[in-house]
Symmetry: C2
Subunit: 410 residues, 2 copies
């Protein structure tokens, strides 16, 4: 039986997370399905940033480092993220970009696991992870190289030469999800260390870094965590490694006594050593405020809704549209919080959708990405999005010249 | 003849930069002499950041990368800084922290000048520069080490083994200023490359990176550039090196075609390759707005006033106070835009001054730092600050227990 909009509205009425929608300032006239690229603006962020600018920076100035706890914010925000990724308290900081944090941890991991020559990753990894790992490898004294295999071949490619397995948990294009527990265990069996990039998982599902015995992780906070454009990223180091792992990005705020201004570097005890330069307060405060939206959220319920939203989208596309391939797993358990379709005219179709206010994005060569952010999207939104997709295809709207011109950032 | 407050008021009336004070929201009831640590809040910053949050992030979301030029902002802001540091257009970007940028450029420099074993710096350098350079050296295939000598011995220590001379132009504690032109020329004579850290110079004086034939530079934008706490730093690469220098922090936004998502890194042409991860938009927009205060400012006039403010302070301290040593050069030409005093009870004296609203800072073991930011400080401010210092000393105010307890950040 065909699903109707009324069916979707009924699902919204039954949704225990529906009230969370009010915690966000959703863009008017849009169905925003790109929260996996840039999350929407949570309520309260603007006020917190204005307070930081006007009162803390503007009036208290330099004493704010103590008076307003600026100096502790990377760890305070890190601890809030720790709950969302299943990490031990004191094992996460928020700082720098995902790329920079990856560099710190790849270098630290290689130093902890010497005598092996391979950083193993997969071709579904976000390219910057591969670039940064190659940057580390290019600097290392010993010959270490980055090897990539197809995602499904990772498990069989781990061997005695693997120093580090470095994977993004959820594929940015297809949403394919690796089995964190199984691959981490396999890496350890072979004597390798494990680093997960949680860019497309943190804030979209429960994670269990500690329970999976993960060594290292990084993640992005401007996607499902809604920290704002270019928000500080995060990094995780398992407690067992915190006093032996060393970041070559050995900046003064990771020093054991930064305000002693010693000429020699001595890393801080614990996770604090992975802080490098001065934290970016405007963005860090915005992220701290954004995380309020996760207060009280049951992450299992979040995941359940995420799966339902994706399942509904797939079912409705099957029902209403033709000509699309499914780039994501049909089984919800095997994908993250997005569904990607394939179509040879994907770019133009996505532009036509955006013109109608349905905002997803496009990834070369033919992938249309639709992110389903369970905190602020409803089931009727999904219905409406597919109705627009159907209309774009039925009327051949995507064939208009204006939709075929590529923008600088796509 | 003793200088009076009326004399200082007359100097303010004659000051061509006096109207610029109105471009800042100065903290009430304070004489803020710590702009060399954290610059004050310029007018217009809050409005720009609110617009970014509310309208760009909040409403336009992901399309802002094109619509609002987010993607070009690191280079756009870099070009505004380029004018202030005497750099060629297209040779500066704003990104990451000073520490991170230093890492990029030290690594790039060593790769450009192989076969030499020394990064030469001085003991007056800000410690993070030494830590980061050591971080690079520790990763390198060949044996490269960081050697520090006393500031006055740098010139004689440059030799055929020096790969890179890495100095901070103005000493963070004493304000001592290196001769950029002479040392750069000397480095080149010996076949070394030259990297300047402009943390305590940019925005306080005219600089001539291009004219001095500098190879590389980094700098901080939350001091004299007033970009806000933790604002994105900047980096400079001379045009002649831009297509050969490679950053090991090879993130996706430094790729020649970031949105092609290639698996292999291919650096962008020109300065853009030194961008790494996603720029932090909140902070970058705040910095862009802050730089408006420099529009139309004659940097020679700025430097002249900076020298006069420092000279006045020294003269008034000589006239009104005793027991202080001068840690800075008495000759204005040999110091940056700060004057540092020495006193064995410096910490408590500074706390007593701060309690009176005269905000400088303290650097171990005995340095009281007073920053003179010519855009927003006047000559009567300097008079009043010294009057407070005199009162603190005369009444023994600094001996109160509350002023002797060290804060976390000092």
């Amino acid at each position: 039986m065909a699903l109707s909009r009324a069916d979707c509205e009924a699902m919204d009425r039954d949704d225990p997370l529906a009230p969370k929608r009010a915690a966000f300032l959703l863009p008017e006239g849009q169905i925003y399905l790109d929260g996996n690229s840039l999350g929407v603006l949570p309520r309260g962020v603007e006020e917190r940033v204005v307070d930081l600018i006007r009162n803390q920076w503007g009036k208290d100035l330099i004493v704010s480092w103590n008076k307003h706890g600026w100096i502790d914010l990377p760890q305070k925000v890190g601890n809030r993220i720790a709950r969302l990724v299943g990490a031990e308290p004191g094992s996460v900081i928020s700082a720098d970009s995902t790329s920079i944090n990856l560099f710190k941890l790849v270098a630290a991991a290689l130093a902890l696991n010497p005598g092996r020559g391979t950083i193993l990753s997969d071709t579904g990894n976000f390219p910057t992870d591969l670039y940064m790992a190659s940057g580390v490898a290019g600097m290392m004294a010993k010959g270490v190289r980055v090897t990539t295999v197809a995602p499904e071949d990772v498990a069989s490619a781990i061997d005695a030469d693997t120093a580090l397995v470095m994977l993004t948990h959820v594929d940015y294009r297809t949403g394919r999800m690796h089995d964190m527990r199984a691959i981490t265990a396999l890496a350890h069996q072979h004597g390798a260390l494990m680093l997960w990039d949680l860019a497309h998982s943190a804030g979209a599902m429960p994670l269990d870094l500690a329970g999976c015995d993960t060594d290292f992780a990084v993640g992005c906070s401007y996607k499902y965590l809604n920290g704002g454009p270019g928000a500080p990223a995060f990094l995780y180091v398992a407690p067992r490694h915190q006093d032996s792992a060393i970041s070559p990005l050995s900046g003064w705020l990771g020093h054991a006594a930064p305000f002693a201004f010693d000429l020699d570097y001595r890393p801080a005890e614990g996770i604090g050593r992975f802080i490098c330069g001065t934290p970016n307060l405007l963005s860090l405060v915005a992220l701290d405020a954004a995380l309020d939206a996760f207060d009280g959220v049951d992450l299992d319920a979040l995941r359940r809704k995420s799966e339902q939203l994706g399942d509904l989208f797939i079912r409705l596309v099957d029902q209403e549209c033709s000509g699309f391939g499914l780039a994501s797993a049909r089984q919800a358990a095997a994908r993250g919080s997005q569904v990607s379709l394939r179509h040879p005219e994907g770019y133009a179709i996505m532009q036509a959708l955006i013109a109608r206010g349905v905002v997803g994005d496009f990834r070369s060569p033919d992938v249309l990405r639709f992110g389903f952010t369970p905190l602020y999207l409803g089931f009727a939104d999904v219905f409406d999005a597919v109705a627009h997709l159907k209309a774009v295809m039925a009327a051949g709207e995507w064939q208009r010249a204006e939709f075929r011109t590529r923008a600088k950032v796509t």
